[in-house]
């Protein structure tokens, strides 16, 4: 059986999965296990949505300050 290629691949995959022990957070473990899978595959989809929502909220709360922040960042991250 140990010469079987599929078997060896599965063993290697299992070892990779068990590379780090599962995350334990006490009472929050079920919540953690519900949230985290969203960020494990194509996290950018969720991140774009969340960032857009956060920006809109910030725009409503801070108004022109957000535009000023965009200008500061756009002035260039480095000198001159």
């Amino acid at each position: 059986m140990e010469n079987d290629k599929l078997y060896r691949m599965m063993v290697a995959k299992m070892q990779e999965i068990a590379f780090v022990p599962p995350q334990q957070m006490g009472l929050f473990t079920p919540l953690y296990k519900r949230i985290v899978p969203v960020f494990k595959e194509y996290p950018l989809k969720s991140l774009v949505f969340l960032s857009l929502a956060a920006t809109f909220i910030a725009f409503i709360v801070f108004g022109s300050y957000l535009i000023r922040l965009a200008s500061i960042l756009q002035l260039g991250a480095f000198y001159p």
Binding site: Q15, K40, Y42, S51, T55, A58, I67, P80
Partner: protein, 206 residues
Amino acid sequence: MRPITSFVFFLRNSFGIIKEPYHTYRHLAHGDKIFTQQTIYIYLLVIFFFLSSSIIRLGMENPYLLTVRFNLLLFGTAGGIILMLFLFYLTGKLWQVGNFSLLRLTVLWSYSLWPTLLWFIATALLYRLIPPPRTWSVPGGILSIIFITYSLTLLSWKLILYYLTLRFGLKLDLARICLTQLLIVPVVFIYSFILYKSGIFRIPFI
């Protein structure tokens, strides 16, 4: 590893950190052989970006200023990367991590430079195409919202890759990762402030 093979690895893992960052980082960290050669390409991209952005901003009239500018950016970035790796080393010592591998951490942290590089490229291009300041108008507001959303998305992506570096590079759990920030965040803040005061980066290339 041959250059073409390492380039294929680099491309596959670069798409991997977009599609499945968790699985890609776990795959990179797992295994006895760590292929550090694949990270050369991201550093070449960083060097090319600094060179082209220095030329775009300063022009070719003053080669001396151009060289100084380029070297400052390069040393600022190299200092940041070395500092982060040193902090990871200290973290490993602090939590007495067994089987500590600096090469593994270097590969993982190098891939986390992608969001930083993409943000700097977009900012440099926007600086040329639609120069700031933005105004309190409908187009100005829309562009600001798009730019802030883009920045927040890349920042969150960077934080995910940073978390995965600590998770798979040092095998830390979430509680230890949070506690480690008491060591890392102040040092990074001080380094960023030094870069700001030295007139190298307004936002550190880390």
